[in-house]
């Protein structure tokens, strides 16, 4: 069985890539995809820890549970986020967030 550390390394790499994407993508869709990557990394971490480190059998499923919940929440976030993207597109005919500076004072 593959030990814990390699999974953690992969997970860290995914988080870094996700953050990079979120910071650099011009399109709101790209940002959402990057966020999905970050959530995936977190879920992967949870499952890896759950399988390798546990104090009792009673909590043996905890990590997988949280991974499942994270997926559900990620799906919800994706749905709402994509709806917002559609709204933005309808209002300003673009999904490029650097064209949208309504938050500027």
């Amino acid at each position: 069985m593959i030990p814990l550390a390699p999974f953690l390394v992969v997970s860290a790499a995914l988080v870094a890539i996700g953050v990079f994407g979120a910071l650099t993508r011009r399109s709101a869709l790209g940002i959402l995809m990057s966020i999905e990557l970050i959530i995936n990394a977190a879920a992967l971490n949870l499952v890896a820890f759950s399988q390798h480190i546990r104090t009792s059998d009673a909590e043996s499923t905890a990590g997988q549970m949280f991974a499942l919940f994270a997926m559900a929440i990620a799906a919800a976030a994706a749905a709402v986020g994509l709806s917002i993207v559609i709204c933005i597109y309808r209002n300003s005919k673009t999904v490029n967030v650097d064209k949208i500076d309504l938050m500027r004072w």
Binding site: V19, A22, L23, T24, I31, V97, D98, I100, D101, L102, M103, R104, W105
Partner: protein
């Protein structure tokens, strides 16, 4: 059933409300509403009268109006024989006058307004009659005062009419204040304003023999009588009534002959228990009445305006009634009130018909010979003139004879004055009649014509009343009317019939008529001008109404005006000066404060604003409004926190 009398004043009140709110829409038909309401009231009044007459009971109905602590104030109606008779008289005469006004006021632009005010007036008068307490009576009294102001000043575009309205209002107001103070005194002393309670309370208080209480009650009685003096135009507050002739003639007939002026007399009759207990008050009443009767008759002798003669005659007749009450001849006074209402309303309406037919000329010197041109008016007028002169068997004779009988027994001086007044009355009334209806028309340019049927009909009905109404009150009929009044025991004065009094009163009436015939017949044997010259100053005094108006002007009105002018100057010079000075000072201070505000306060505020603006220019650079920049900074922050955490842990 017992509240039926309460309905009687409500009906005209409703008519008033309907007409005043829908006047424009109703137009001519406003008179139908008014007459309908009055007629219904008259029918109701007849019902009430017959009931009271048959059963000799007092209809009373009341409800609790306000209560504070143990004291409750009740409002309601109370109809005894006197009230029922008054109700009947007021509604019948009022209805006839309204019918007459349909003809008289025809074509007037304010036709509906006239009927609205007449209806309100009727409501006030009827409310006064049915009231079972002085407070409701006072309210109705004031409604009438207000209406008389409206109606006297009905042609308000004429300055003289407006002035007459104001004069009437202010003069009667003096009496009203007296009445109000009297009421307060009475409440204070007797603790009630309800007539039936006063009937018990006043004799009980008088029986105490407490000088202070007696003084208070006498004062209350006299103050209430001041109200009567104002409303019934007794000397010295009589000056408004002749001027009130500025109003339309139906108003003169309704208000200034038949009803409103009678309210004062009615007030004394209603609160008679007070007067009966205190002879001093009664004496004052008698003398004021007697003096007014004689005084007004003297003025009436020389007046040339047909309505003014009638106005002074009204004063004189009211004086008779007040004198009768003062002499304790309660029933006689009220009987005269009823008969007078009929014949005086008839006289005024006849005069109105003359004026109407004579193109609104009121000067008798231009009239004459109208007998042939207006036969109906002339005949009915003759009936009324004979009635007021005291020729049997017409109504005026009986009631006046009763009063003179009372005077004969109580006060010979007043009896002489009253008899002399009767002589004068016969003289000036026939002077008026001869000058108006007989001989030739002195002003040939006016084409007189008879009035329309709607005006003649009330004249005829009233003439029948004026002729026959005295019969039920005559000694032949056993003074039936007088007994029907339910004269309270304390006011019962039985005087033996006196042939001397009756004979003398007929004699003076005939003498008066004869003298008038001699002086004003078509071919006079005595020239009036020569008599006037022979009388000299007396004639001038009478012609100028004993200069009462001028005396009032000199004593009260001019000093008041001077005081007002002085106050005005004081106001203008000193108070306005002080106010303006304060204003100037404030302005100077304000400009100083303005400078301070502009340079110091505003300076600080502006400085702060400049600093904030400069800072915001710096920090605004970070606020790009782009999500990416924010995200980058947030990530940086997260990284820094993570570094610090790791650093701490390890």
């Amino acid at each position: 059933m017992d509240f039926l009398p309460a309905l009687i004043p409500v009906l005209p009140l409703l008519a008033f409300a309907v007409i005043i709110t829908n006047g424009r829409r109703l137009g001519w038909s406003a008179c139908l509403v008014a007459v309908g309401a009055s007629l219904t009231s008259a029918v109701l009044a007849a019902l009430v009268y017959s009931r009271v007459l048959l059963s000799h009971e007092t209809l009373a109905w009341s409800f609790e109006w306000v209560r504070w602590g143990e004291t409750a104030l009740r409002m309601g109606v109370r109809i005894d024989g006197l009230g029922a008779l008054m109700l009947f008289m007021v509604t019948v005469v009022g209805t006839l006058i309204e019918i007459y006004a349909i003809g008289y006021m025809a074509g007037d632009k304010t036709f509906s307004r006239f009927f609205a005010f007449v209806s309100l007036f009727m409501a006030g008068m009827l409310g006064l009659v049915v009231a079972d307490n002085l407070l409701l009576l006072f309210v109705s009294w004031e409604i009438m005062g207000l209406c008389s102001y409206f109606l006297i000043g009905f042609y308000f575009h004429r300055p003289s009419a407006a002035a007459a309205g104001i004069k009437a209002f202010i003069t009667t107001r003096i009496g009203d204040v007296g009445l109000l103070i009297g009421m307060i005194l009475l409440w204070w002393t007797a603790g009630t304003l309800r007539f039936d309670e006063l009937l018990l309370a006043v004799p009980a208080l008088a029986g105490l023999g407490d000088a202070h209480v007696d003084l208070m009650l006498t004062a209350a009685a006299l103050l209430i009588f001041v109200g009567t003096i104002g409303k019934s135009a007794q000397f010295p507050l009589h000056v408004w009534l002749p001027d009130a002739m500025e109003g339309p003639t139906p108003v003169s007939a309704l208000i200034h002959a038949a009803t409103m002026v009678a309210a004062g007399v009615f007030l004394v009759a209603r609160s008679f228990i007070l007067f009966a207990q205190f002879p001093a008050a009664l004496t004052v009443v008698a003398w004021v009445g007697g003096f007014t009767a004689l005084f007004a008759a003297l003025i009436a002798l020389t007046q040339n305006d047909i309505k003014r003669v009638l106005a002074y005659s009204t004063l004189s007749q009211l004086g008779y009634m007040v004198m009768a009450l003062g002499l304790g001849a309660y029933a006689a006074g009220m009987f005269h009130l009823i008969t007078h209402a009929f014949f005086k309303a008839l006289l005024f309406m006849g005069a109105g018909a003359v004026i109407h037919g004579f193109h609104h000329v009121q000067d008798m010197r231009r009239m004459g010979g109208l007998w042939g041109k207006m036969p109906w008016t002339a005949w009915t007028f003759l009936v009324a003139t004979l009635a007021i002169s005291g020729i049997p068997p017409l109504s005026g004779f009986w009631s006046k004879d009763e009063i003179l009988l009372g005077a004969f027994h109580e006060s010979p001086v007043l009896w002489v004055a009253g008899t002399f007044t009767a002589f004068l009355t016969a003289f000036y009334m026939f002077r008026l009649f001869f000058m108006t209806f007989t001989g030739r028309q002195r002003d040939g340019e006016i084409h007189a014509h008879e009035s329309p049927a709607v005006m003649i009909l009330p004249l005829v009905v009233l003439a029948v009343g004026a002729a026959l109404l005295g019969i039920p009150g005559s000694p032949w009929m056993g003074l039936w009317v007088q007994h029907s009044l339910d004269v309270p025991a304390y006011a019962l004065a039985h005087h033996h019939h006196s042939n001397l009094v009756m004979g003398l009163s007929i004699a003076v009436a005939v003498a008066g008529i004869a003298l008038a015939w001699l002086m004003y017949a078509p071919r006079p044997t005595i020239q009036p001008a020569r008599v006037a010259r022979a009388m000299g100053r007396l004639y001038t005094l009478s012609l100028n109404k004993f200069h009462i108006d001028e005396i009032y002007a000199a004593l009260i009105i001019n000093p008041t005006r001077a005081l007002a002018r002085g106050s005005f100057r004081f106001d203008l010079g000193l108070i306005d000066g002080a106010v303006n000075g304060m204003g100037w000072l404030q302005r100077a201070l304000a400009s100083l404060k303005g400078l301070f505000d502009k340079w110091v306060v505003d300076g600080i505020v502006n400085l702060l604003a400049t600093i904030v603006q400069a800072l915001s220019a710096v920090f605004g650079l970070i606020q790009t409004g782009r999500v990416h920049n924010y995200l980058l900074l947030a990530s940086l922050g997260a990284l820094v926190i993570a570094c610090l955490t790791w650093w701490n842990m390890g």
